[in-house]
């Protein structure tokens, strides 16, 4: 068959399933198939999760600086983990594990992609909805079930798992190895369900991006946000399937009695366990084959938002748009061949480590291209220092700071020293945690008027930005020094170590904890601003308050149910046409043709 034209059937088939606007509360807000509602559902889930995650991190910090302290209420909620309010070391590990899991899966994976991507990908490409609206709803509610399963781990007997967010066996594989019971199983079930939800979501994003672009919107005219959501979806599609397999294997080890990850001859509680033949390293390979792309799943959408916002508020086109696209793709591709750099201390052959190290260094190239282009975009621009712009500049700063320590950790010889220290904690929090969160702050403040038809309070956002920006450096900056001492990570308490005492480790830990408490408190400014602005923010019915160029700014705020009211837009130009010579305004929207931008041809000629 050589026909290039799809049959009539296919044509009917590829029509977007237009769904009527639902009337009842249940179908409009709960089981909605509207990508905008689903996007907000994801965002709200992430907001709940991020406050849970922050509370857990505070418990971790408090246990570190005062092991003996008794905290009110803690003993009531966790009589086993914190008898009379004093946290046990096991409780510390459980909080650490849950902090990592909640943050990585329920915040960093859901909000940038499921939240912002769901809401704005279809609008930015000129579509009425995602390609599979029902599947979209299913993805969200599956994610929600996964979240509930994870939260259930807190309340079951034995409490939450304590094997880290990486769930390393044999600790995670042997019920007899820890006091915990079903908590680890719930954790695994949660992750497995999350994998399925993410797979379905990723598939939906890819089909949407490929098939539903408006006429004239070539791939190379897409906003960089869409590119990052697209590449993130590809990463999710390829990575989560492997984690799913690993999770099933570990669940079998725990519940069926197989020995995939458990070697022979392990002695637990003075008893030789009845397993043989497995290898904990196998889990590490499978986990990190997912785990490293996961880092980019968290950070890429933040990069997209940053590029988008920097260009809009510097009133300049993105410097090196094509290079940015290639860099996004290169980061995504290289992300699949560097998982071994998480395993340098696992006893890996130095030859393998060398290969993983070289590939890891290669990621520095596209990362540097992106950073250079962000600065190039701002260079010489008429910068408007709005709050989204501040958050985006903060993103660049955090990305560079976190990236620099990555160059150290990518060397096997240096990593052997740093691997189990706070240096690594500082590195990954800055680059994948806080930077990605700043991307979300930028996205939220930038798109808030579009989503809710109101503005967030600018002064409050700016106050929040400065406290948080200084706060995160105050938290994670000193951790580099702690790591160099070296102060080991994951320990609930360390006493009687001379070099730590002589170098003021305890004082620094106290400083970090105080900074963490203050920074967490500052997040309530943002929460207050966010909630209050939804209901009582300054009204902004203007379509395009930021004078931006992409399609979401060409429709009313908030957008109607079917986005473009049945009129499919036509795209005439790239996503970042700012400060055009001879144009009537200093920007051109993607849906403006030359006549709308330059007026009559005569005017255009005189402009040169």
């Amino acid at each position: 068959m050589t026909e290039v034209q799809p049959s009539k059937e296919v044509a009917e088939y590829t029509e977007v399933h237009r769904h009527p606007e639902p009337k009842s509360f249940l179908w409009k807000y709960i089981f909605s198939v509207d990508h905008k509602v689903i996007g907000i559902q994801y965002m709200l889930l992430a907001v709940v999760a991020v406050f849970v995650g922050m509370a857990l991190s505070l418990l971790v910090r408090l246990r570190l600086v005062c092991p003996e302290c008794s905290y009110p209420l803690l003993g009531t909620f966790f009589p086993v983990g914190a008898p009379e309010g004093v946290m046990t070391p096991e409780f510390y590990l459980a909080m650490l594990t849950m902090h990592g899991t909640v943050m990585v899966f329920m915040v960093l994976t859901t909000a940038p992609q499921g939240g912002f991507g769901n809401y704005f990908l279809p609008i930015q490409i000129g579509a009425a909805d995602m390609a599979f609206p029902r599947l979209n709803m299913l993805s969200f509610w599956t994610t929600f079930v996964s979240f509930l399963l994870l939260m259930a781990a807190f309340v079951v007997e034995g409490g939450a798992p304590m094997s880290g967010w990486t769930g390393y066996p044999p600790l995670s594989a042997l019920p007899e190895a820890t006091v915990q019971g079903i908590g680890q199983d719930l954790w695994l079930a949660s992750i497995a369900v999350f994998c399925i939800a993410s797979l379905l979501g990723a598939l939906n994003f890819i089909v949407t991006t490929l098939d539903l672009r408006a006429k004239g919107l070539t791939m190379m005219r897409m906003p960089l946000t869409c590119w990052t959501w697209f590449v993130t979806a590809i990463l999710g599609l390829l990575a989560f399937g492997v984690l799913l397999a690993a999770g099933v294997l570990l669940l079998m080890d725990r519940n069926v009695g197989t020995s995939f990850f458990v070697p022979a001859g392990l002695v637990v509680s003075d008893k030789v366990i009845d397993h043989s033949g497995g290898s904990p390293i196998l889990w590490q390979h499978l986990f990190w084959f997912f785990g490293h792309p996961e880092v980019y799943i968290a950070i890429l959408p933040g990069m997209g938002v940053t590029s988008h916002v920097l260009s809009t508020f510097a009133r300049k086109t993105v410097f090196g748009y094509r290079a940015m696209v290639y860099a996004i793709a290169a980061i995504g591709g290289l992300g699949f061949v560097v998982w071994g750099h998480h395993m340098f201390v696992s006893g890996m052959s130095p030859y393998s480590a060398f290969v993983f190290s070289v590939l890891t260094m290669c990621i520095g190239v596209p990362s540097a291209i992106k950073t250079f282009n962000w600065i190039g975009t701002m260079w010489g621009g008429k910068i408007r220092f709005t709050s989204p712009m501040l958050y985006s500049i903060g993103f660049v700063s955090l990305f560079v700071s976190g990236g620099l320590s990555g160059i150290f950790l990518g060397q096997p010889t240096v990593d052997l020293y740093f691997h189990d220290t706070y240096f690594v904690v500082a590195h990954f929090h800055l680059i994948m945690g806080v930077a990605a969160i700043f991307g979300m702050f930028a996205g939220m403040t930038f798109w808030f008027p579009k989503m809710f038809g109101r503005m967030m309070n600018e002064p409050l956002s700016k106050i929040h930005f400065w406290i948080t920006f200084v706060g995160v450096y105050a938290i994670f900056g000193p951790m580099h020094y702690l790591g160099m001492l070296p102060h080991p990570r994951r320990y609930a308490e360390i006493t009687g170590v001379d070099y730590l005492a002589a170098n003021g480790a305890a004082e620094l830990q106290m400083f970090v904890t105080v900074a963490a408490v203050l920074t967490v408190l500052a997040q309530f400014i943002f929460l207050y601003n966010f909630v209050k602005s939804i209901f009582a923010g300054k009204e902004c019915r203007e379509e395009n308050p930021w004078e931006a160029t992409t399609l979401e700014w060409a429709i009313p705020s908030p957008p109607p149910h079917d986005n473009f009211a049945g009129k499919v837009p036509h795209v005439y130009r790239g996503a970042y046409d700012f400060s055009l010579k001879g144009a009537k305004r200093d920007f051109a929207m993607q849906c403006n043709d030359d006549k709308a931008v330059f007026g009559e041809p005569a005017t255009q000629a005189s402009g040169d």
């Binding site: 799809p6 088939y13 919107l217 390829l238 397999a245 294997l249 009695g257 995939f260 033949g277 497995g278």
Partner: protein, 210 residues
């Protein structure tokens, strides 16, 4: 400049307003699902290879009955792929009743495969004492990998049979299109293809050569 109000589905295009790969959403979605699912199976097969190399691996299966029986299973599954091809072809020629019959035939062979497979599992457990956690041949991982990988495949076949049933009913009532039959066919052939990796890696490589 034309405003292109006639936004019809023209030739495949990357310019927007069309499907660049000239296939429907569902078909593209199924291909993406297959890519993702094949990574799940790859991870398991790689894990299998890993523990196989790391252990003294037993080869307890004999030509008769193990290989003969699993060959019959393979033939049953391959036959189901053939009937699926006929179903898709009939659907595209508009022969609705014929297509539905072929889909049911596919579901029948799929179910037969599951029954044979289940019989084999029970035989291995009851007569040979082989379980996911232990067996009499050697490393417990022999049984673990066997039941896990064939079990996940069997789960795919069972899901596939249910899926085929839904497609057959929906297509007969005119609710679903020939394209849906083809998309179901993609899934079915994929499940078959996975077996073509499982069969040599799990069965043939575990056969003693005597």
């Amino acid at each position: 400049m034309s405003d292109g109000h006639a936004a019809t589905m023209a030739a495949p295009t990357w310019q927007g307003g069309g499907t660049p790969l000239a296939v429907g959403h569902k078909k593209l979605g199924m291909w993406l699902f297959i890519i993702s699912d094949s990574l799940t199976f790859s991870a398991l097969l790689l894990a299998y290879s890993y523990v196989r190399v790391a252990n003294d691996w037993p080869t307890p299966f004999h030509f008769f009955p193990s290989i003969v029986f699993s060959t019959i299973m393979t033939l049953v599954l391959l036959t189901s792929s053939l009937t699926m091809v006929y179903a898709v072809s009939a659907a595209h020629h508009g022969a609705r009743r014929k297509a539905v019959k072929w889909i049911w035939a596919t579901a029948f062979f799929g179910s037969l495969f599951v029954v044979l497979h289940g019989y084999e599992w029970l035989h291995l457990m009851h007569d040979e004492g082989m379980y996911p956690w232990a067996n009499e041949y050697g490393t417990p991982l022999f049984g673990g990998t066997f039941f896990l990988i064939t079990g996940l495949h069997m789960f795919h076949v069972i899901t596939g049979v249910a899926y085929l049933g839904i497609v057959a009913l929906g297509y007969r009532r005119g609710k679903w299109l020939p394209e849906d039959v083809e998309v179901a066919g993609l899934y079915w052939h994929f499940v078959d293809l996975v077996w073509m990796f499982v069969f040599p890696l799990i069965y043939l490589l575990s056969t003693s050569v005597d």
